[in-house]
């Protein structure tokens, strides 16, 4: 956590609605971003994460609320006067310029002497590992190389903050993994603030100091990757961060919850008596055991090999449970589902309707 550091960007009660729409794209958002922090805005498409980024970049103006940079309100400062640079989703490199001219673009605009430009571009190309590519034209570069050039073009201007809008979305899986590590390294080496937008929870968890989970224009949870994963504040976060079994339950009293037709001990408390809650259990926290009266029993519906583990869908108490297990099971077999009280996460019912339910056909359903 880097809460002790300086706040470099503050969003205060920011709301925004697009011109031709009724529903707000951002609804009363407040967020602090600190020096040298790697912040990821995570959420499904349409959650407002890109809009938040564009507000910071200066490409969108909030209807309500304030945007502060080092404590100063910058709502009306145009993009070219902000010490912020952006890496765009599809890189937005200038196709009419070669690699060198692309990277040098910002420096030339700010009238840096040509000699210094040369030096800084060379340094930057070294950082992104593309020395010797100066004369290449953009369409001669691979996706990963273009990505690096986009980063170099932004970073060469020594911004205080680098905004990245799903920068790895167009890359294949392997390259994406490499670039994740690369980006993290660059961020640490340059020691500047990165604000990163993605819908890929794994990416968010891998790279970030702080993850901001957003949905429907609202912030659901802010925390370290560990916090977000282990202590999701509601069913949406739980579901969005990794796969989850989310079941309706009733809190009988502290540390006793009823769901799936049984009472279970749990470690959560502080709810009203008989309060309806969401019960979240991670698929990897469930163990398949022989059917018995001690555990919840169900019928195996499907088994899918996923590489590291099997994804087994079990129909128990007319709900579909997803279990990740290193051992396979037979379809049609009656099995027991075992989990400990620590594996049961109790959450207040979300105000919003449930986002995800797993069905036998596997996959998601709105």
């Amino acid at each position: 956590m880097s809460n002790s550091k300086n706040k470099i960007i503050e969003l205060k009660n920011v709301s925004m609605t697009f011109r031709d729409s009724d529903t707000p794209v951002l609804n009363n958002i407040s967020l602090d971003i600190h020096d040298n922090e790697f912040v990821t805005l995570l959420g499904p498409s349409g959650c407002g994460k890109t809009t938040t980024l564009r507000i910071i970049g200066g490409f969108a103006t909030p209807d309500k609320g304030d945007l502060l940079f080092n404590g100063k309100r910058i709502n009306d400062v145009p993009p070219y006067k902000r010490q912020v640079n952006t890496v765009f989703q599809k890189y937005a490199l200038f196709p009419h310029l070669n690699v060198y001219d692309n990277v040098a673009f910002g420096l030339r605009i700010s009238k840096v002497p040509e000699k210094e430009i040369k030096q800084r571009v060379a340094e930057m190309l070294e950082i992104v590992d593309l020395e010797g590519f100066e004369r290449r034209s953009i369409d001669q570069l691979s996706g990963g190389q273009q990505q690096r050039i986009a980063i170099a073009r932004a970073l060469v201007n020594n911004p205080k903050i680098l905004l990245l809008d799903e920068p790895l979305g167009a890359l294949d899986l392997k390259l994406r993994k490499e670039m994740q590590i690369e980006l993290k390294k660059i961020q640490q080496r340059m020691s500047i603030t990165f604000v990163y937008v993605t819908h890929d929870q794994e990416e968010a968890l891998t790279m970030s100091d702080t993850v901001v989970v957003m949905n429907k224009g609202e912030i659901q949870q802010i925390g370290t990757p560990q916090d977000i994963y282990n202590e999701p504040v509601n069913a949406f976060v739980a579901d969005f961060i990794g796969e989850s079994n989310i079941l309706p339950g009733i809190m009988h009293r502290d540390y006793l919850v009823e769901f799936a037709g049984n009472n279970f001990d749990c470690v959560d408390g502080g709810f009203d008596e008989m309060e309806p809650v969401d019960v979240v259990i991670r698929p990897e926290d469930i163990t398949i055991v022989p059917a018995s009266d001690e555990v919840l029993n169900g019928v195996v519906e499907t088994v899918t090999f996923k590489g590291v583990h099997y994804e087994i869908v079990v129909n128990a108490y007319s709900d579909y449970w997803i279990v990740h297990s290193t051992k396979s099971a037979n379809v049609g077999e009656v099995v027991g589902l075992s989990f400990t009280p620590e594996d049961i996460h109790i959450m207040k019912k979300s105000e919003m309707p449930k986002i995800t339910r797993y069905t036998v056909g596997q996959g998601e359903e709105a």
């Binding site: 200038f94 009419h96 001669q140 932004a154």
Partner: protein, 686 residues
């Protein structure tokens, strides 16, 4: 085998595409004026082209108009495209469709409506209107080319520029413009192409002071198109070819992945070199021309002193003279060549804007619509009669034209100007029969009668006029009618004759007669005397006779439009007419034009051979029955046109076809639009 067929097929396609150009290029080096006879290799046409001021000045006009119009259209069109692109959806499609409308619109409609607009707004036709109208039809092409580039452009590019420190203006110039540059360049090139190419719209909007190349060439078609045009077309073709090659080489080099940076530079260098070369050549040409035109002037003593030629010197008077193409002596770079217009300018200090037209009807149309301010026009007799009848030309002050006394007595008090008050004859000629002596046995057939054009022995070897008045005249003479008759019955008899003749006629021609007769492809044809002599020079087997039933004698006359109201301006125009009647000037012109002169002084100075040439100056008795065209009553003109159309059309017209066709077109357009908008809707709903 298959391969062979394929090659054959490709060969045929290319032959079809390029054979005309090859013929054109070959002919530009052909010494003979005929297109069907090789007279040896020559570069004469090129050197004559480079000294022809009318062609060169219209070329310059064309280029200036094309450049100015294209630059303005490119700026306007690009700005419009950016504006349209950033509009809200509904407005965007409205504006877009509106701006495409001029492209869909037939050019002639655009041309006429622009003319009406300019006349309505009282803008004098000339450079300004020409450029305005070119801009008007070029802008949509620029929009059409720029808009897709804007759509293709990643919309984040501008944001990226802003992000990297550009303000809006910088982002526009540093990112948007370079990104859409290919579209802008294509739009610009298309504008230039369409502008240079345009004839129809320019024809209506050029006025008296600006004549483009296409109009100049068109105005030459009354008489044979000069081989100079072949030379010019060849030059244009070569320039286009070079530009295309340069661009293609550039493209190829660009598409090679490596060294793209240097090669595009190389392409630019080549382009620059080519342009430079073109500029140099034209400079040399202009220099050559200027050098030449300073020679060959006449001694001042040559001119009569009955008028004060210096009267209007330094008064800033400009005369607009409107004449047929190739109908005045110009300097073609040979010794003794006489440039009428520049000689007049030198002598009097009056500036002359010399323009050309192609037909009496064109002249009439331009006079009638207004907006054209000509000071001297040279229509044919019957058109002059019409102008007199409609009050469109004015009485001349013959005190200012003392040289009128040289005009042969027999041209006084003509039928078309019975008061002898409005016109001064410039040239004259008549229609006779030109025939090939190897194909027509004069012992056996009577060539001196129009009947021979109806003789079945010459089926498919007869050529006929491809214009109603001249064709009817022949049938009328054949039947002993007057050519100026309005009698319905007589007209129908003439028409019936022409219909009987039709199966015997090889083709109905005007200009093509030169090639056909010189090439020996036809035996007999009625045509104008002066042109007949030109043909006879190229083919010794040809001969020319005046049919005994009588024939049409035509006179082209100089007049001053009624719109010339300024006293000095009119006097200056009369000075020009008087100058044209100077013996030496009339001589030079008639030698150049190769028609007959009504000028007694010039006639006397002609060489003996021409003077005694029965074809140029037949005896009075031979032309005793000759008749001049007079203006016909509207009813007669309409009857003739209807009968002629009926004769020329094989099947007879189907009156409902045109409206049905138009309705079908509109229907298809509506259908396509509805279909497209539905498709778009469906797309958007998805």
């Amino acid at each position: 085998m298959k391969k062979l067929y394929r090659r054959l097929y490709i060969g045929l396609v290319f032959t079809f595409l390029y054979a005309p150009i090859v013929v054109l290029i070959v002919n530009s080096f052909n010494q003979s004026k005929s297109r069907s006879k090789w007279g040896g290799f020559t570069l004469d046409w090129y050197s004559k082209l480079l000294t022809d001021e009318t062609i060169l000045s219209s070329l310059v006009t064309t280029l200036i108009v094309a450049l100015v119009a294209s630059v303005v259209a490119t700026v306007l069109g690009t700005a419009a495209a950016i504006g349209i692109f950033n509009m809200k959806k509904r407005w965007r499609s409205v504006i877009l469709n509106t701006s495409y409308l001029p492209i869909m619109n037939p050019e002639i409609v655009t041309g006429v409506s622009l003319l009406l607009l300019f006349v309505f707004l009282n803008i004098e036709l000339g450079y300004v209107t020409l450029i305005l109208s070119h801009i008007a039809f070029c802008v949509p092409y620029v929009i059409l080319n720029v808009l897709p580039k804007l759509r293709q452009m990643d919309k984040h590019l501008v944001e990226a520029a802003l992000d990297l420190g550009c303000n809006r203006t910088q982002a526009f110039w540093k990112v948007t413009v370079p990104e859409i540059m290919p579209g802008i360049v294509t739009g610009f090139l298309m504008s230039i192409t369409y502008s240079v190419d345009d004839f129809v719209i320019s024809y209506f909007t050029n006025g008296s002071s600006a004549q483009t190349l296409s109009i100049t060439i068109f105005s030459m078609t009354r008489r044979k198109v000069s081989p100079k045009i072949n030379a010019l077309s060849t030059l244009i073709f070569v320039v286009v070819l070079i530009v295309l090659i340069v661009m293609n080489v550039r493209d190829v080099q660009k598409s090679k992945p490596k060294r793209s940076h240097t090669s595009s530079k190389k392409g630019t260098v080549i382009l620059a070199v080519v342009l430079l070369a073109a500029v140099l050549v034209s400079c040399v040409a202009v220099g050559f021309m200027l050098n030449r035109s300073s020679e060959n002037t006449l001694d001042s003593g040559t001119y009569s002193d009955s008028v004060d030629w210096d009267m209007f010197r330094d008064k800033g008077i400009t005369l607009n003279v409107y004449n047929w193409g190739e109908y005045i002596s110009i300097n073609e770079g040979e010794d003794g060549d006489f440039d009428t217009v520049s000689e007049f300018e030198r002598l009097t200090g009056i500036n002359v804007e010399y323009r050309t037209f192609a037909s009496n009807e064109e002249l009439y149309a331009k006079m009638k619509t207004g907006g054209f301010n000509y000071d001297v026009i040279i229509p044919s007799d019957y058109m002059a009669a019409r102008f007199i009848k409609e009050g469109m030309i004015q009485r001349l002050d013959f005190d200012n034209i003392p040289n009128y006394s040289y005009i042969d007595q027999k041209f006084h008090d003509p039928v078309y100007d019975s008061e002898n008050a409005y016109t001064v004859p410039y040239t004259w000629g008549y229609v006779g029969i030109i025939y090939n002596t190897t194909m027509v046995d004069t012992e056996k057939y009577d060539v001196e009668s129009w009947d021979i054009l109806w003789n079945e022995d010459f089926a498919k070897n007869i050529l006929m006029f491809n214009n109603s008045r001249d064709a009817f005249a022949i049938a009328q003479f054949k039947n002993g009618f007057s050519v100026n008759t309005a009698d319905q019955k007589e007209l129908e008899i003439a028409a019936a004759d022409l219909r009987t003749q039709k199966p015997l006629v090889q083709s109905y021609v005007m200009d093509e007669i030169f090639d056909k007769m010189i090439g020996g492809e036809a035996a007999l044809a009625p045509y104008y005397a002066g042109d007949a002599v030109t043909m006879m020079e190229d083919n010794e087997d040809l001969d020319f006779v005046i049919p005994k039933e009588g024939t049409n004698r035509f006179v082209d006359v100089m007049c001053i439009p009624a719109t010339v109201t300024d006293k000095d301006q009119k006097a200056a125009a009369e000075m020009f007419i008087n100058f044209m009647c100077e013996t030496e000037v009339a001589l030079r012109n008639i030698e150049y034009i190769c028609y007959s002169t009504p000028h007694t002084g010039a006639y006397e100075l002609l060489d003996e051979e021409t003077k005694n040439d029965e074809n140029f100056y037949p005896s009075d008795e031979k032309l005793a029955k000759a008749e001049a065209f007079n203006v016909l009553p509207d009813s007669a003109t309409k009857t003739i046109d209807a009968l002629w159309t009926d004769i020329m059309s094989n099947t007879g017209t189907i009156p409902w076809l045109t409206p049905v066709f138009l309705v079908a077109c509109v229907g298809i357009a509506v259908f396509i639009n509805v279909y497209r908008s539905r498709k778009n809707k469906r797309k958007n709903e998805m």
